[in-house]
Symmetry: C2
Subunit: 638 residues, 2 copies
C-alpha cells in the first residue's frame, strides 16, 4: 500500500505555530507509518507518551539546542523502551534522524525495535523493564560529580513499576539527594494487553513514591499547559528527586486505539500494544490523524514513501524472493501454541500443576490455561524474580509450578532466584519463550542468545528445545511427568519457517534424531528456526550432510553420540545462541578430543528482518552451506 510521511519542513512549520499538541499528532502519524512499514512495533505507548516527549524536547529540555553530545545537555530516555517509535518520530522532527532511517525501523542498519545508544539521540539501551531509574540516577550522580549541567529525565511505564529494581533506584536516588533527576510515569493504566489493576494493582502510587522520599506531582499527561506547570515546579528545585504521574491514554490520538474504547471493543483486551495495524486499521488511523492536523494546517504536505526495499520486507518474512535461495512460505505452526495446548492436557491429569505468568500470558500462549483454570493460574506482574521465588515456595509445598516469561528476562534477571530454587531440590518447569535470535526486530534486549549458558551449569537443570509441535508436546510431558529435577524448555516464539518432520519416538534423554541423511559430516541443530536453516543447507549440499535434531542442550547420551559420529569426518553445530555455553560446548565435553565446528551468534545479535539477521550472522541456510563446504574443502586439502 502507498505510504506517506510528514516531512520535517512541515513539522518545523507546525513548531512555529507553537502548538505542541499539533506536533505530537504529526509525530504520531509518522510513528504509525514507521511501524506499519516495519510490520511491528508498539503504538499504544508510543502514543500515550507522545505529548510528554514532544513537550520535553520542544519546550523543556536544552538537548536539541546543545546537541546530543554536549556534556551539559539534559538527558532524556525511556526506561520501558518499547515506546521508541514515538521517540524516533520526534528525533526525525528535530532533524536528528533522517526520514530514510525512520523508515528503516526494525531493519538491519536501521532503527532497533528497542532503544540502542548506537542510534543518534538515544541516551540509554532499554527494553527490558525496570532499569531506567537506576541508570538515570547514575547519570544524575555523574553530572553532579563532574560539575556538569543538565537534568536527567526518565520515562517509565506504570506496569513497569512492578519490577523491584525501580524501588532500589527510587530509594538510592532519594538517599543521594539527586534533585536533578526527574521521573515521569506514563500512567496509562494498562500493561501489555490488560489494565494494570487486573494484572497486579499498583495501589496508591503517589503515597508509595512519597514514602520513598520523592517529590511527587501528577497531571494530565496530554495537557501541555499542565505539563508546563509541573515542570516549572520541578525546576524550582529542592534536593529531592522528582516524579510526575502523567495520567495518559494508551493509544492517544486515534479514537479506536484509545484504551477506554479499545478495551470495550476488545472485550477487555487491548490489541494495540504491539504489532502493526492491518491496512484497513492503518488507513483509518492515519486519516484520522491527518484530518485533525489539517484543521490547523489545511495545506499539510505529505511525502510519498518510495523505495524498493518496502516489498522486500515481506519477502524476508518467508515469501519467495529473487535471489540465490528461494524461501518456502512461513507455516502456521507455532511451537508455543503446541506448548499452551499441551499444558491444558497435562493439567487434566496433574492437579498439582500450576502456571505462573509475569504479564506475558498472550505471548506465552498461556491465556487458554488462565481461562480454563483461573484458580491454577498465578499472575506475578512484571516481576520475574518474585515469580521464580514464589514458584520455589509453591514447589516446596506440593505444587508443580510451570513458570513463563521470555528467555532473555527469565534466565537472566531471575538467575539467582532460579539457582536458589534449584538448590532446594524441588522441581520447577521453566518455559523460556522467545528464545534465540528470531524475531530479530525487537533488538538485543529481547533476543536471547545466552540462556543456555546461564542455566547450563546448574546441577539439576535440563535444558531442551523442541523442533516442532509434536516434540514440544512430548518434551513438556516428559518435563512434567518424568524429569527428576528442573527443566528449562526453550521455545521459539514465531511461526516455524517449515514444519520440521521429526520421527515420533519415545523421549530419549540425551539423544537426538536424524532428519536428513548425508555422508561427509554431521550438522547438529535445535529448534524450528535453526533446524530449517540446517535442512536448507543440507538440501543445497546434496547427500553430504547428516542433519540431527538435538533437543538436549546440556545432557548427552555419550554412547549414542559416539556411535552416531563415528563414521563422520566432520562435526558441525548451528545454534541461535552465543557459540559460548550452549550445544557446541556440550558436544565438545561429551566427545572430548574431537573437533566440533560451531556456527553460533557471534557478537551482539543483529536487529532486522529474520533473514537479514540470520544472514548477518552467517546462519541462514545458504551462508551455512557455504561455510560448511569451505570447511570440508579446507579439511580435505590439509
Amino acid at each position: 500500500m502507498e505510504l506517506t510521511l510528514i516531512p520535517r519542513e512541515e513539522l518545523e512549520r507546525a513548531r512555529a505555530l507553537g502548538e505542541l499538541g499539533l506536533l505530537a499528532d504529526m509525530c504520531r502519524a509518522n510513528a504509525l507509518v514507521a511501524v506499519k512499514r516495519a510490520g511491528s512495533g508498539h503504538l499504544g505507548s508510543s502514543f500515550s507518551a507522545m505529548d510528554v516527549v514532544v513537550h520535553l524536547f520542544y519546550a523543556e529540555l536544552n538537548t536539541a539546542e546543545l546537541g546530543f553530545e554536549h556534556p551539559d545537555r539534559d538527558v532524556y530516555f525511556s526506561s520501558k523502551g518499547h515506546d521508541v517509535p514515538g521517540l524516533y518520530a520526534v528525533l526525525h522532527a528535530l532533524g536528528v534522524l533522517p526520514p530514510e532511517r525512520l523508515l528503516k525501523l526494525r531493519r538491519l542498519g536501521g532503527l532497533d525495535g528497542h532503544p540502542d545508544v548506537g542510534i543518534p539521540g538515544i541516551e540509554a539501551n532499554s527494553g527490558s523493564l525496570g532499569m531506567g531509574i537506576s541508570k538515570g540516577r547514575g547519570i544524575a550522580w555523574a553530572k553532579r560529580h563532574l560539575g556538569r549541567g543538565g537534568r536527567v529525565v526518565v520515562l517509565t511505564g506504570d506496569g513497569e513499576l512492578q519490577e523491584g529494581q525501580n524501588f532500589e533506584g527510587l530509594q538510592a536516588a532519594a538517599a543521594h539527594a539527586l534533585g536533578n533527576l526527574w521521573v515521569i510515569v506514563d500512567r496509562n493504566e494498562l500493561q501489555s494487553d490488560k489494565p494494570t489493576d487486573e494484572i497486579l494493582a499498583l495501589g496508591d502510587l503517589e503515597t508509595k513514591l512519597r514514602a520513598f522520599g520523592w517529590h511527587v506531582a501528577s497531571c494530565d499527561g496530554h495537557d501541555h499547559a499542565a505539563l508546563a506547570r509541573v515542570f516549572a515546579e520541578f525546576r524550582s528545585g529542592g534536593d529531592a528527586p522528582k516524579v510526575l504521574l502523567a495520567n495518559t491514554i494508551k493509544g492517544k490520538g486515534v479514537s479506536f486505539m484509545e484504551h477506554p474504547r479499545a478495551l470495550a471493543e476488545g472485550s477487555g483486551t487491548y490489541r494495540w500494544h504491539a504489532g502493526a495495524p492491518d491496512d484497513d486499521a492503518f488507513g483509518r488511523a492515519y486519516d484520522e490523524l491527518v484530518e485533525r492536523i489539517r484543521v490547523r494546517m489545511p495545506d499539510l504536505r505529505l511525502e510519498p514513501v518510495r523505495d524498493a526495499e518496502a516489498d522486500q520486507i515481506y519477502s524476508l518474512e518467508g515469501e519467495p524472493e529473487s535471489g540465490a535461495a528461494v524461501r518456502p512460505k512461513v507455516t502456521d505452526e507455532y511451537v508455543a501454541e503446541a506448548y499452551g495446548e499441551a499444558l491444558l492436557e497435562l493439567a487434566e491429569r496433574h492437579p498439582e500443576l500450576v502456571v505462573l505468568d509475569a504479564d506475558l500470558a498472550s505471548d506465552c500462549r498461556i491465556r487458554p490455561f488462565e481461562l480454563a483454570h483461573p484458580d491454577r493460574f498465578h499472575e506475578s506482574g512484571i516481576a520475574e524474580q518474585d515469580m521464580v521465588s514464589a514458584a520455589a515456595g509453591m514447589a516446596r509445598h506440593g505444587l508443580l509450578p510451570v513458570v513463563n516469561s521470555f528467555a532473555a528476562f527469565l534466565a537472566s534477571r531471575a538467575n539467582e532466584q532460579i539457582y536458589n530454587q534449584a538448590s532446594e531440590q524441588t522441581k520447577v518447569v521453566y518455559a523460556l519463550h522467545y528464545a534465540g535470535l528470531i524475531p530479530a526486530g525487537p533488538g538485543k534486549s529481547h533476543q536471547s542468545i545466552r540462556d543456555v549458558s546461564l542455566l547450563g551449569a546448574l546441577p539439576n537443570m535440563v535444558v531442551v528445545q523442541p523442533g516442532n509441535s509434536a516434540e514440544t508436546r512430548a518434551l513438556l510431558r516428559w518435563a512434567v511427568e518424568e524429569a527428576a529435577g528442573n527443566v528449562a524448555l526453550r521455545l521459539a516464539i514465531g511461526p516455524s519457517p517449515r514444519r520440521i518432520d521429526v520421527p515420533e519416538t519415545e523421549v530419549a534423554p540425551g539423544r537426538g534424531t536424524t532428519l536428513h541423511e548425508g555422508t561427509d559430516a554431521v550438522l547438529f541443530a535445535y529448534g524450528p528456526v535453526m533446524l530449517h536453516e540446517a535442512l536448507t543447507a543440507a538440501e543445497s549440499l546434496p547427500g553430504r550432510l547428516q542433519v540431527i535434531d538435538m533437543p538436549w542442550l546440556n545432557r548427552i547420551d555419550v554412547h549414542w553420540l559416539s556411535e552416531l559420529v563415528e563414521p563422520f569426518g566432520e562435526l558441525f553445530v548451528v545454534e541461535d545462541h552465543s557459540p559460548v555455553g550452549a550445544l557446541g560446548d556440550t558436544l565438545r565435553r561429551a566427545l572430548d578430543g574431537r573437533a566440533v565446528t560451531v556456527f553460533g551468534v557471534e557478537g551482539w545479535p543483529a536487529c532486522g528482518a529474520p533473514l537479514e539477521a540470520l544472514r548477518y550472522h552467517g546462519l541462514d541456510g545458504s551462508s551455512l552451506a557455504d561455510r560448511i563446504a569451505l570447511a570440508l574443502r579446507a579439511r580435505a586439502t590439509s
Copy 2:
C-alpha cells in the same frame, strides 16, 4: 579452650518456667558456642532475632507440635539466613537437632552456614538477600490453594529491605490477599557493620509498607508480652498480609555486643556481625549469658563439649595435620587487599575512576578507598541490580565505574543489568569477590561456582582471575588502563594458602605463565586457592606435571596455547567452578580436537572447612594427584 553446651533437658526445664526471655538467653549461649567452635558465623543478628524466634516456636506456631513435615504446620523461615546459628540453637532446644549436629556448624555433614532445606527444621534456602517474602507468599498461596492450614512467617532484615525483590513480593502478596502471610522485620537498624541510615536510609518503613497494602504493626522485638499482643492482633485476621516491625538490638543479650555500645566502642563500626569472637570475648560473652540465666536457674547444668574433631577444624584451616598431605601454613596474603591497594594507586592517576559498593565495603577491601575518596565512593545499599545500572549510567557520562560485590550475587542477580550495560559498549570493571568454592563454611548461597559461565558469553566481557597479589595489581591496572571493554575480576576472598610465585612479566592477554615444570601433562589452574592445590599435586608427582597459571578464563592466545601444549600428551584443568562454562570449556574451544580433562566443582558446592570441601570435590592437591596419576595410567595402557 574448654566449651560447654546447655543440654536440651535444661532448656525443657526453663520452658516449664514459662519464661521466653530465659529460653532466648539459653539459646544465645548455645549459638555462641556453635559459632565459636565453627570459627565463623553471624552472632549479631542471631541475637537480635532470638526473642522473636523463641517466641514464635514456643508461644505462637504449631510447628513444633505438628512436626516439620505436617501439611497444616505453620512455616517459619528467615529470609536473611545468616541468623541461622540462632535458629539452629532453637531447633536444638526443641529436640529437632541433636547436640552433636549443633556442634558441627559450618562443617561437612553438619549444619550449613546459611539455611538449607536438607537440614531438619529448615523450611527454605536463603542467604542471598531479598527472596524470602516472595518465597513466603508462594507458600502461603500454595496453602490456600491446597486448602491447608497454617500461617507462613518470614523474618527479614531491615538492611535486607534494600533489595528490590522485596517490593515485588510485597505488592504481589497484597494483590493476592494473602492474609496467612506474616513478615517480621528484624529492625535492628544495622546492616553488616554500619547503621542502615549511614549505608542507605530506609526512610519511613511503616508508611512504605502500608502504601504496599500491608497491615503494619510495630513493637519492641525483645518484649514477649508486646510480641504476644501483636501476634494476637495478626491472628484476628483480615485478608491483608501482615508485617511487624520488631525493633531490636543487634547483639542483644551480651552487653558489649549490643549495638549502641558496640558502635560506640568500634568508632561507628559494628564488629560482631560475622565471625567468631576470640577466646577472651567469647569467655566474657558466655559468662554474662550464663550468669543471667543462673539468676533464674541457679542450678543450671552445663555439658562439656568433648570430641576429637574440635582441634581438627583449625588444622583444616592450614596448620600441619596428621595425614598423607602435610599442609603448609596459610599465609597472610589476601589478593583482595592487593586489589584494594591497587585501586587507591590507580585512583591517583585516574580521576574518572569511581568505586561502587552494595554494602560489602569491608569484605571487598574498598573501605580504604571510601575513606580516601569519599566523593568517588558510591554506596547503593544491598541492591546489586541498581548498582550495576547506576554504573552503566555513570559509564555513559565519562566515569569508569569499578563495581563490587560477591561473585555469587553480582554475576547472577545483576546478570541482565550487566548484559544491558555491556550492550551500550561502555566500560565497567566488575570485581567479583569471594569467587569459587572457598571459604566453604557459608554454604551454597555464597559460594560462586557459576560466575564465569554467567558472564563468559558476553561479547565484550573479559573474565580474569589473578593468582597472587602482584598479578592482582597487574590485572586491575590492565583492566583500568588498557582493556577496551568490560573486565570481570574474579577474586579469592580468603588468605592465599601459599604465596604463588608468578614471574612478573607484561600483562599478555590470553597467555598464562608456567609455575612448575613437568614432562607428562599440563595442568591449568587459576586463583591462589586452586593454584596451591595444583602445585601440591605437581609436587607429589615429581617432574610429571607442568603447572600453568592461566588467569584469562574466556580469552585465549591460541598460538601461545598451541605451542605450549604441543609436547604434552595430556591436558588437565582444575577450577573452583562448575566444570561447565569456565576455563575447561574455553580451552576446548581454543584447542578444538584435543582432549582436556576438567576437574571442577561437580554438583552443589559442599559446605565445610576448606580442606573438607576441597576433598569432597576431589580438588585438594592429594586427590588431584591421585586423579591425574590414574588418568595418565589409563591413557598409557589404552
